[in-house]
């Protein structure tokens, strides 16, 4: 591994604290990931990415910046990567998966704030997130009340915060609000990069991000096999790296793993033995290195076959409709090329992007029946023996929704376990008992 000390120093990181963080992360990765048996060889790529997550990847971003690209950081799947890419910017997910500098954080946030929000502050206050420090723009979004109010305080800590509003209802007005916000975001990004989005650049960006999502769809599809060819932890990692990696390289690496998994399925080779109890995990997103619950589940004799989560299927479910590109071709091939101008084409694409993101069934929406339907559908499609619903402590939207989730699954005779926890390890023993008892119940 190269020496990145100077780069980290230039970014203004607290080197001592950052070393400590990397050390903890490295050990956790070794204990949780590298100790797994029967991993696909293709996971070697992700092992490498993780070992360089604050190193080589950051260097790439710094190099991109030197060439005039801009880096945009985000905390949510509602921030459209297509728009960033089309304006010559790179979108990265920001660190929010571990506790850091808790005492400092509690000067800004009440104690009963969820771990994810606290973590975002901890990484800023502790000066340990190189993604955040290299970002030219940080996008906050009005999802839950916790995040909404927290961004007001975060704004005092970072100078380049941009807040995106989001609808709370799946109505026509809601959709119009989202489209309006995406246009406002488009203008902000164009201003940041000085690059005007064109029909062609947006089309290419849509294709790039669709390819990335399609690769994840392919991976998910392969997890329907029994025995599952890949562990839930490894699949979760792919879903997590989705937010950090260069999109084209990510797509290629996931597709390569899928080739390998297809062969494994043919050979009836699994990451776990056949008939291992299958779990669908549903609920709050799990950012790196929040592997606690999946690790407990998979060391208790079960395998996770799907994640109904923003870091998972909820975040990647739909593609932007590419049929609008025909319009573009027709326009180009037509007799009168100017009959449909670039702005109209862009507007059609903005509609398609809005339609795609508007389907994300985050628990901030009300009512949110689609999510309940999706959970049942996923449990059936992935042949899950049971569903574990994961809520972060103090995450009101998901905790509240866990009750109707439990009810709808019970009506379908799908066993469900509801877990409420945070990033701390103090409750690992109790969680293990509950998870093991749940798995015994399935057996």
């Amino acid at each position: 591994m190269s020496d990145y000390t100077q780069m980290w120093r230039d970014l203004g990181l607290n080197l001592e604290a950052h070393d400590m963080l990397l050390n903890v992360l490295g050990n956790a990765y070794k204990d949780i990931y590298l100790s797994q048996k029967n991993r696909p060889e293709g996971m070697g790529y992700f092992d490498f990415v993780m070992s360089e997550v604050h190193g080589l990847r950051i260097k790439e971003l710094i190099d991109e910046k030197a060439q005039g690209r801009k880096i945009i950081g985000s905390y949510c799947v509602f921030v459209p990567e297509e728009i960033a890419l089309a304006a010559n910017a790179t979108l990265v997910g920001l660190c929010s998966g571990a506790d850091f500098a808790i005492e400092e954080v509690e000067k800004y946030l009440p104690r009963n704030t969820c771990s994810l929000i606290k973590s975002a502050f901890g990484f800023k206050l502790g000066k340990v997130c190189p993604y955040l420090e290299s970002a030219d723009m940080v996008v906050g979004e009005n999802t839950c009340d916790g995040k909404k109010k927290a961004y007001e305080s975060l704004g005092s800590l970072i100078t380049n915060l941009y807040v995106m509003d989001l609808p709370q209802m799946k109505s026509e007005q809601g959709k119009a609000l989202l489209k309006g916000e995406y246009y406002r975001f488009k203008e902000a990004v164009e201003k940041l990069t000085g690059v005007k989005i064109t029909g062609t650049s947006l089309k290419n960006a849509i294709k790039t991000v669709n390819a990335k999502r399609s690769a994840i769809h392919r991976l998910s599809e392969l997890r329907k096999a029994d025995p599952s060819p890949i562990s839930g932890l490894d699949a979760l990692l792919a879903n997590q790296v989705f937010f950090y990696d260069n999109p084209a390289r990510f797509t290629e690496s996931v597709n390569k793993i899928c080739d390998e998994l297809e062969k494994r399925i043919q050979d009836k080779q699994g990451a776990v033995p056949a008939k291992t109890p299958r779990i669908l995990l549903s609920g709050c997103p799990m950012a790196v290195p929040n592997w606690k619950l999946p690790w407990i589940i998979e060391t208790s004799g079960a395998v996770i076959v799907g994640e109904e989560s923003c870091v998972g299927e909820r975040g990647t479910r739909n593609l932007v409709d590419e049929s609008i590109f025909n319009l573009l071709h027709n326009a180009g091939d037509g007799v009168n090329e100017s009959s449909i101008d670039d702005n109209q084409i862009i507007d059609k694409m903005m509609d398609a992007i809005t339609d795609r993101y508007f389907k994300v069934d985050c628990a901030i929406f009300t009512p949110n029946q689609e999510r309940l339907n999706h959970i049942v559908e996923m449990a059936q499609n992935y042949k899950a023996d049971g569903v574990i619903h994961y809520s972060l402590q103090f995450c009101q939207p998901y905790i509240m929704e866990s009750i109707p989730v439990d009810k709808v699954l019970e009506d379908k005779n799908i066993p469900t376990l509801r877990i409420e926890t945070d990033y701390g390890m103090e409750d690992a023993g109790q969680l293990k008992t509950r998870v093991q008892a749940f798995i015994e119940q399935l057996g």
């Binding site: 066993p415 409420e420 926890t421 103090e426 409750d427 023993g429 109790q430 293990k432 008992t433 509950r434 093991q436 008892a437 015994e440 119940q441």
Partner: protein, 283 residues
């Protein structure tokens, strides 16, 4: 052949040995202390000293995984005289163990309430005695044996007398805090106000009862029978049994030795697993 079950809880450890006919031939208990594995091994030394042999061990309770690993890695030189190191050791959760242990005494039990030192659980069973659904407290010790123990101490009662004394209270008194830390300050201020300590004790029991009842109600909605069995150390508390039974308007049954149920269930599952293996071999 004989089969051993060990339940390593936060406060006590129990070992039960059963024979091929599911009869209990030995049952022992010790405090967990600060070195649960050492205490657990001492219990097995005691079993061996009685000349009782066992084919396999099933561990349960919060120390189950720790014990399973420790047992597999025991030093053969220093332990071979004191222990049967050839026994095969595995682990199950206390939820499954309690379900099996309760079925041995009450085959028609539909619901189990288990309140131990640091955990409380409500378990709904199928007609065939299998776990259908369960609820468990999270990391905090509110509503568990530990909570009652700390409160008894604050009020100057022994844990054995705490329930009896609470039953003698003339009036009910409300304790609002379920958190051990806040409840302790609430109790302190009640003492300062001159409240009767038996009434405070009753109030504390009522608060634990309410939590247990709400846990039971969450899993009991469509149970086929009303029969509730109460296990774990807190089941020895008469006041708690009475309060829960009154609140739910049904009988709450307590086995003779409610703390042994987990270890008994584990031993019976060890026996059944062996029988299952043997019948596969010869069947």
């Amino acid at each position: 052949m004989n089969y051993a079950g060990i339940d390593i809880g936060s406060r006590t450890i129990e070992v039960v040995v059963v024979n091929d006919y599911s009869d209990i031939i030995c049952s022992l208990q010790a405090d967990t202390g600060f070195d649960p594995i050492a205490e657990a091994l001492k219990l097995f030394y005691a079993v061996e000293e009685r000349g009782i042999k066992y084919e396999s061990i099933m561990a349960t309770g919060y120390g189950r995984n720790l014990f399973e690993i420790a047992y597999a890695n025991l030093d053969p030189v220093s332990n071979s005289k004191k222990l049967n190191l050839t026994a095969n050791c595995s682990a199950i959760t206390e939820i499954k163990a309690h379900a099996r242990g309760v079925a041995a005494f009450f085959p028609n039990a539909a619901t189990i309430l288990d309140i131990g030192g640091q955990d409380s659980k409500a378990i709904a069973l199928n007609k065939n005695g299998r776990v259908k659904k369960f609820e468990m407290n999270d990391r905090c010790a509110a509503g568990t044996g530990k909570f009652l123990e700390i409160m008894a101490r604050t009020l100057g009662f022994t844990i054995d007398d705490f329930g009896k004394e609470a039953l003698l209270a003339q009036n009910d008194l409300t304790i609002n805090s379920m958190c051990t830390v806040f409840a302790e300050s609430e109790v302190t201020s009640l003492i300062a106000k001159g409240s009767d300590r038996r009434e405070i004790a009753k109030g504390l029991h009522i608060s634990v009862m309410k939590r247990a009842v709400s846990m039971i109600n969450r899993i009991r909605a469509e149970q086929y029978s009303d029969l509730i069995v109460f296990t774990g150390g807190v089941a020895k508390n008469e006041c708690m049994v009475k309060l829960i039974s009154e609140k739910l308007c049904c009988d709450v049954l307590v086995p003779d030795n409610p703390q042994m149920i987990g270890a008994l269930g584990a031993a019976l599952i060890a026996l059944e697993q062996q029988t299952c293996k043997t019948s596969k071999l010869y069947g």
